[in-house]
C-alpha cells in the first residue's frame, strides 16, 4: 500500500464556481419562457406558470434562478393543510410559489405568471357559503324576537 501522503487530496471547488456554471443548462430557456408568458399575460390576460419540478435542473439551478429573479414587495403565507409561500419576485407579475404539506415537505415549486395568484381568489361557492353562515349566526344570536330569520341551513 502507498503511504498516506501519496493519496491525492482533491479540493472541492466552490459550488458557485464549478457546479453552477456546469449545470446551468436550461436557465436561459426558462427566463425567455417567462418573458413570453409575461407578454401573453399583458396582451391577452392569460395566466401562465412554469413547473420547476418537471425540469431537468441541476443541484444548484433552483437557487441560481431564485437569485436571478430577486424578491419583490409581496410575501404571502397560506395555511391550508401545510404552509404555502407565494413571494413576488423583483419581476412584477412573477410569483415564486412553494406548496408544502402538513409535515413541511415541499409538494410543488412553480413560478406563476399572474396579476394575483389564482389560489388567493375566493371561490363563488365559498362566498355563498360564507353569506349563509353569517346570516345564520346573525339570525340565531342577534335578531329581535318576532323577526323571521333570512338564512336557513
Amino acid at each position: 500500500m502507498s503511504a498516506l501522503g501519496d493519496i491525492p487530496i482533491h479540493v472541492e471547488p466552490s459550488a458557485e464556481k464549478s457546479v453552477g456554471r456546469e449545470f446551468g443548462v436550461g436557465l436561459g430557456a426558462i427566463l425567455s419562457e417567462l418573458a413570453t408568458l409575461l407578454e401573453a399575460l399583458r396582451s391577452t390576460g392569460e395566466e401562465g406558470a412554469i413547473d420547476l419540478r418537471s425540469l431537468p435542473l441541476g443541484p444548484n439551478d433552483l437557487d441560481r434562478l431564485r437569485r436571478l429573479l430577486g424578491s419583490g414587495e409581496v410575501d404571502i403565507r397560506i395555511d391550508a393543510n401545510g404552509e404555502s409561500r407565494i413571494r413576488e419576485t423583483a419581476v412584477s407579475g412573477l410569483w415564486w410559489t412553494e406548496h408544502r404539506n402538513a409535515a413541511g415537505e415541499p409538494l410543488a415549486v412553480l413560478i406563476e405568471v399572474a396579476r394575483v395568484p389564482n389560489i388567493l381568489l375566493t371561490a363563488d361557492d365559498d362566498l355563498a357559503r360564507g353569506a349563509v353562515r353569517l346570516r345564520t349566526v346573525a339570525s340565531a344570536q342577534f335578531s329581535a324576537p318576532g323577526e323571521t330569520p333570512h338564512g336557513t341551513t
Binding site: 443548462v25 395566466e47 401562465g48 391550508a80 404555502s84 406548496h99 409538494l107 361557492d125
Partner: protein, 374 residues
C-alpha cells in the same frame, strides 16, 4: 349523511372532512406537476377530481419483497394516507390492513362482490406458475388461483414494480418457479405496468390518481407503462447529459471525473436504455436520484434488467458470453481460432485449385500428344 363513503364524490367527502378549497387546489397543483400536466391544468383537474367517486382497490402481493409497498408508503404527493382515505377505497391489502386471516379474505370477497366490474386490482410481485403454482400460496390457495379470481371482476389491473410488470428477480435466469409477469396471466384485461425496483412512490400514487381522475387507463408505451412517467429515458432528462455530449466521462468511481460529476456512461450507466421519471421527479421527495448520488442507473424499470450482465459494464459492449460481456482475451481467442480456420480453408482451397489445374494440364498435354501421333 347516511350514504356510504363509496357513494360520495371525492368533493363531498373532502367538504365533509373539512378540507378547504385552497388545500385541495394546492394538492391538485402538486398532482399536475407529478403527472407532467401543464401547471394550469390543476384547476381542471381539481374540478374533475371533486366530481369523481373513490374506486374500490384490491391490492395483492405475490413473489415480491414488499419494497414496492414500502416505496408507496413514502409518497409525498399524494401521501399514502391521503390516497387511501381520500382518493381510493383500499379494501384489501394484506400488509396494510388491520384485519387478518379469514376476516381479511372476507373483506376481499365483499369488496369484489359489491364492486364487480368496477374495482381496481393492484398487484405487486410476479406469479409462479411451475408445478401448479405451489411456490406461492396464501390462505390455502395458489397465487395463480387468487390472481385469476380477482382479475375477473377488475375494471383494470395495475402491476406495480418490475416483478409484476416483467417478472423481475423471480423471473431472472434460471427462473426455478416459473415466475411470470401479470400481463401474461390476465388475458383480455387492461393492464398498466408501473415498473421499477421499486417504482418511484409518486409514480405509483400518480398512476392510481390519474386513473381516478380520468376514469380510464392512461396512455401506455410498448411495455404498457404510462407515458407520462415512462415517456423519456433517464439519459434524455439527466442533468449530467451535457457531460455525455462533451465526451467527459468518469472512468472510475473515485477519479477526477467522478468527483466533478461527469457522465457515468462508461461506468455502466443504463440511462440511455431506461425509461423512467427518476431524473425529473427524483426520489425521497425530489432530494436526489442514483445518478445525482454518483452511481450509474441500473436500468431497473426495464424488462430482464437482472439478466443483462454486470451493472457496471457499459451499454455498448459485446455480450455473447454466458455471464454477459466478453473479455478481450475471449474475443482475441475467438478471433484467433476463426482466423486459423479461415487460413486453413484458404490454404486448402488453393491446394485443391492447384491439383485441379495440374490434372487439367496433364489431360490437355496427354490429348495434344495423342493428336500429334495421329
Amino acid at each position: 349523511m347516511a350514504r356510504p363513503d363509496t357513494e360520495l364524490t371525492i368533493g363531498e367527502l373532502l367538504d365533509r372532512n373539512g378540507v378547504s378549497r385552497r388545500s385541495f387546489i394546492k394538492y391538485c397543483t402538486a398532482m399536475a406537476s407529478l403527472l407532467a400536466l401543464p401547471p394550469l391544468a390543476a384547476r381542471a383537474m381539481a374540478a374533475q377530481l371533486r366530481a369523481a367517486r373513490r374506486p374500490s382497490v384490491i391490492y395483492l402481493s405475490f413473489q415480491e419483497c414488499t419494497g414496492c409497498l414500502e416505496s408507496l408508503t413514502r409518497s409525498f404527493a399524494p401521501t399514502v394516507e391521503n390516497l387511501i382515505f381520500n382518493v381510493i377505497s383500499l379494501d384489501y391489502d394484506d400488509t396494510l390492513m388491520a384485519a387478518a386471516g379469514a376476516q381479511a379474505e372476507q373483506a376481499r370477497a365483499q369488496a369484489m362482490e359489491a364492486n364487480y366490474g368496477k374495482y381496481l386490482l393492484v398487484v405487486d410481485g410476479a406469479v409462479p406458475t411451475a408445478d401448479g403454482g405451489v411456490y406461492h400460496c396464501a390462505a390455502g390457495r395458489s397465487g395463480l388461483d387468487i390472481l385469476s379470481e380477482c382479475a375477473k371482476g377488475a375494471a383494470a389491473i395495475v402491476a406495480v414494480g418490475t416483478c409484476a410488470s416483467f417478472g423481475g428477480l423471480p423471473f431472472a435466469d434460471p427462473n426455478p418457479t416459473g415466475a411470470r409477469a401479470i400481463s401474461s396471466l390476465v388475458p383480455g384485461k387492461p393492464v398498466v405496468n408501473v415498473s421499477g425496483c421499486p417504482p418511484i412512490p409518486e409514480v405509483i400514487a400518480g398512476t392510481l390518481l390519474q386513473y381516478v381522475t380520468t376514469g380510464r387507463v392512461p396512455d401506455l408505451d410498448e411495455h404498457l407503462r404510462p407515458t407520462v412517467f415512462y415517456g423519456n429515458s433517464i439519459h434524455d432528462r439527466c442533468y449530467r447529459r451535457p457531460f455525455y455530449d462533451r465526451g467527459e466521462f468518469a472512468k472510475t468511481f473515485d477519479d477526477e471525473g467522478a468527483r466533478n460529476g461527469w457522465c457515468l456512461y462508461e461506468l455502466g450507466c443504463k440511462g440511455p436504455t431506461t425509461y423512467n421519471a427518476c431524473a425529473t421527479l427524483k426520489w425521497n421527495n425530489a432530494v436526489s436520484f442514483p445518478i445525482q448520488s454518483g452511481h450509474p442507473c441500473l436500468g431497473c424499470a426495464e424488462p430482464d434488467f437482472w439478466d443483462r450482465g454486470s451493472f457496471y459494464s457499459p451499454i455498448p459492449t459485446a455480450r455473447w458470453g454466458k455471464a454477459g460481456e466478453v473479455s478481450p482475451a475471449q474475443a482475441g481467442t475467438l478471433a484467433g481460432v476463426a482466423a486459423l480456420a479461415g487460413a486453413a480453408i484458404g490454404a486448402g482451397s488453393v491446394v485443391l485449385a492447384r491439383k485441379r489445374i495440374n490434372r487439367n494440364k496433364r489431360t490437355k498435354s496427354h490429348d495434344s500428344e495423342k493428336g500429334n501421333e495421329e
